[in-house]
């Protein structure tokens, strides 16, 4: 059912997008949410479910790809996504009927709302990750065999490109290289597909889920009450409440073309005495408890301030701080053989199979 989103919804979406971003600094989300709420004063954005579209309607993913410039240091100036949609329409000779998020968290979880406000296109309550991954090839659409291209890009300086590549991994390599030369980020439109394909291979309820998470976390209730509500709604489990004891940068070698440096955080659960180890690269990829795997990508791991129940960013991880380490399952597609091939720890350079692969 179609919904007109309100500025309050955007406020909650901001919190939910941060929670699911697994501890990334939320400032870019805040900057963008503020701009969207400002724009909503005289325009509205419509959230629809994918089955409200005709099966053959053309839908596209919108999202930022970054490699070398923080979005919060230079937010898009405003013509990038509309320019990319025009480029795709020109290339395919068809009008885009609706847009969806490239990822269901972080900045890409919120960007489609601004694009919807600018273009008057409805925003579909679906996405191709169900969380955020660093690579554009790490999508459920890719698992489902949906073509990633053509991909339209516009960079920091206003320069544009269209990439045609059949193989998603090759598209990732080309886009990443282009993004570097385009100034450090690019607005992109990709995975042009039919509404039917998105319905079959996407993850659904993404935007409304972020809004609901935000409603829970923004409520004036205790940290424990928020955790219990998240547990009811998402099946969130608490791996540990632990104190940060050591932070290590560049803790693992990386040569896979993945953005950002790997780092590690060691915590101590002072109730049980267990040692918790977080392996991080953009997101928290792996959680070990006394050396045993407690969560591994594509599981989502996020951190909550144990006192206030607010989302803790990696920047908040200082030696001595106490945080709740939470785990929630990713979309079911990610636990298929093809899904694990794309997104288990080995895909991030950690030589480890996901427990579900080993144990069926």
């Amino acid at each position: 059912m179609s919904t007109i989103l309100s500025p309050e919804d955007v406020g909650h979406l901001r919190t939910g997008a941060h929670f699911l971003a697994c501890a990334i600094d939320p400032t870019a989300i805040h900057v963008y949410a503020g701009m969207i709420q400002e724009a909503m004063q005289d325009r509205s954005v419509e959230l629809i479910t994918v089955d409200e579209l005709a099966p053959d309607d053309l839908v596209v993913a919108v999202g930022m790809v970054t490699q070398g410039l923080f979005i919060a240091d230079m937010p898009p100036v405003g013509d990038e996504f509309t320019g990319c949609i025009e480029a795709i329409e020109t290339r395919l000779g068809r009008k885009v009927g609706a847009i969806y998020s490239l990822a269901a968290a972080n900045i890409n979880g919120i960007i489609p709302l601004m694009v919807g406000l600018q273009s008057s296109l409805p925003v579909i309550d679906s996405d191709p990750m169900g969380r955020v991954f660093p690579l554009i090839s790490q999508t459920t659409l890719n698992i489902g065999g949906v073509a990633i291209g053509p991909i339209a890009l516009m960079g920091v300086t206003g320069e544009r490109a269209v990439v045609e590549a059949a193989d998603p991994q090759r598209a990732e390599t080309l886009v990443r290289a282009l993004v570097t030369e385009l100034g450090g980020w690019a607005a992109t439109v990709m995975y042009p597909c039919s509404a039917r394909q998105l319905a079959e291979h996407g993850v659904h309820g993404s935007v409304s889920r972020m809004i609901r998470i935000g409603q829970i976390l923004d409520a004036d209730t205790s940290a424990e009450s928020k955790f219990l509500s998240l547990s009811d709604f998402l099946g969130v489990t608490r791996i540990a409440r632990a104190r940060v004891s050591h932070i290590e940068g560049l803790s693992r070698p990386t040569d896979l073309g993945l953005p950002a440096q790997p780092s590690s955080v060691t915590l101590v659960d002072e109730t049980t005495g267990q040692i918790i180890r977080l392996e991080i690269q953009n997101e928290i990829l792996l959680v070990l408890v006394d050396g045993a795997v407690a969560a591994a990508v594509p599981d989502m791991v996020t951190l909550l301030n144990s006192e206030h129940g607010s989302v803790a960013s990696l920047e908040d991880l200082r030696v001595g701080n106490v945080v709740d380490v939470l785990k929630l399952n990713a979309a079911p597609q990610w636990y298929s053989e093809a899904g694990l091939d794309l997104a288990e720890p080995a895909a991030f350079g950690i030589p480890l199979k996901h427990p579900r692969r080993r144990h069926g």
Partner: protein, 439 residues
């Protein structure tokens, strides 16, 4: 002996500290002007203690907060200006009216320090006469990517100064944040307060030197450290909110706490901060909800809640400074120190000189990371010596490396804090314990 001063309106209050002992507390002195109040307080201290006073540190945060911000011209350097009204970021309402003109200049850098666009210097020079003819003296310059390269900001600043050397210029690369609007806000606010900072520095210098010609004169900073008065004229924003840090440091000083937790019970509620190596743990931003953050190192002081983890193995100081202590403090807290009403003044008197290195570095592996981190530690130590610290009494308080999520592989943020004293016998009474703790 060391003096802590608190300036507010046209009044001044002082406290004298010797080691960890308060030897004198001057009542708040009200006068016809702030300068008269300061003169009166220092005159009284000179009669009591004369040349025994070695350091005077002033908290000017309340004066700066009450000052009328000067008008500012903002210069934004980026590859392209916003294309529509939706894509403008806004400054907090309290400072937005101070920006009377915004000029866009093409330029900016990426995270690797590579230019995103050539600097539009010639176009700016064409506009400069009209900028200078308006009588505006305060300028804030913010460039995309200036955490990686300050070149475009400094070239625009040089262009302005070479045409009018009296301009007060604040460049955003002096304040660490990877967010444009945070640096813009901080540079604008800093620029708007520079005139007040100059006046305060001149007043403190003149009055302080008249009464205590041999003493080191400083101002208190938001991170719990201090810096020489000359820095107040160029970076007043770091002096805007020192009180929470100084209160934490003051309680830690009284309690002899070098590493641990400080809990302060006031009429407004209970707050908690952490002391590490003799100084309050600090964040590089003062967050203001969803608005732009102030890019200044400031002590982390949070509300103490019922969920606060109580750690018997972590030393703590609990101070009750409520106006009435007829009822016990909230959360079953038991004060470990008698109620002391002048915690922040004690902090001001005890605070050491501090300096930060906070920047991006390119590294290719662990060995290089260690090299750049070591270099940053040496530079932080040198910076605190340049502020006046004795080379033999300088120590690294923290040295951290942060990976940059979704940044460029090979780029890390290095953040180092150094502290030092001007005379090893009298400086920060917690410093010796800090050294002992790490030895």
């Amino acid at each position: 002996m060391r003096v802590g001063l608190m300036l507010q309106g046209s009044s001044c209050r002082a406290l004298v500290l010797e080691g960890r002992s308060v030897v004198s507390v001057a009542e708040q002195r009200q006068a016809g002007s702030l300068a008269d109040a300061l003169d009166s307080v220092l005159s009284s201290l000179r009669l009591q203690f004369g040349s025994l006073i070695t350091d005077v540190t002033a908290d000017v945060g309340r004066v700066l907060a009450a000052a009328q911000p000067g008008d500012v011209m903002a210069v934004h350097i980026s590859p392209r200006p916003p294309a529509d009204q939706f894509h403008n970021t806004r400054l907090p309402a309290s400072i937005e009216p101070a920006v009377t003109r915004t000029v866009h200049v093409r330029g900016g850098h990426d995270l690797r320090g590579r230019p995103l666009a050539p600097l539009g210097l010639n176009e700016f020079l064409l506009e400069l006469p009209s900028i200078l003819s308006g009588g505006m003296r305060n300028v804030a310059i913010t460039a995309v990517g200036s955490t990686a390269s300050a070149e475009h900001e400094t070239r625009i600043a040089d262009a302005i100064l070479s045409n009018n050397s009296d301009m007060r210029i604040s460049i955003s690369s002096d304040f660490y944040s990877s967010v444009f609007r945070d640096r813009d806000y901080t540079a604008v606010l800093n620029s708007a307060l520079m005139e007040s900072g100059e006046e305060l520095a001149a007043m403190l210098e003149e009055t302080g030197k008249r009464h205590f010609p041999a003493a080191a004169l400083s101002y208190a900073r938001n991170d719990g450290g201090r810096a020489p008065l000359a820095r107040l004229a160029v970076a007043p924003v770091h002096a805007l909110r020192p009180e929470p840090a100084m209160a934490i440091l003051g309680a830690a000083t009284l309690g002899g706490l070098c590493d641990g937790e400080v809990v302060v019970c006031t009429d407004e509620g209970v707050s908690v901060g952490t002391i590490r190596s003799g100084l309050p743990v600090a964040h590089s931003l003062i967050r203001q909800g969803y608005e732009a953050s102030l890019a200044t190192n400031a002590a982390i002081v949070e509300p103490y809640t019922a969920n606060h983890p109580v750690r018997p193995d972590i030393p703590s100081v609990v101070v009750d400074i409520r106006s009435s202590q007829d009822t016990p403090p909230e959360h079953g807290l038991l004060p470990t120190l008698p109620g002391v009403p002048h915690l922040s003044l004690i902090g001001c008197a005890a605070t050491p000189l501090t300096a930060w290195i906070d920047r991006l570095e390119r590294v290719s592996g662990q060995a290089e990371l260690q090299r750049v981190q070591h270099r940053a530690e040496e530079e932080a130590g040198s910076a605190v010596v340049q502020l006046g610290a004795s080379p033999t009494d300088t120590r690294i308080i923290e040295s951290n490396v942060f990976a940059m999520p979704y940044g460029n592989p090979g780029i890390v943020r290095i953040r180092v804090r150094a502290a030092g004293g001007t005379s090893s016998s009298e400086e920060n009474p917690l410093a010796g314990q800090a050294l002992g703790a790490t030895a």
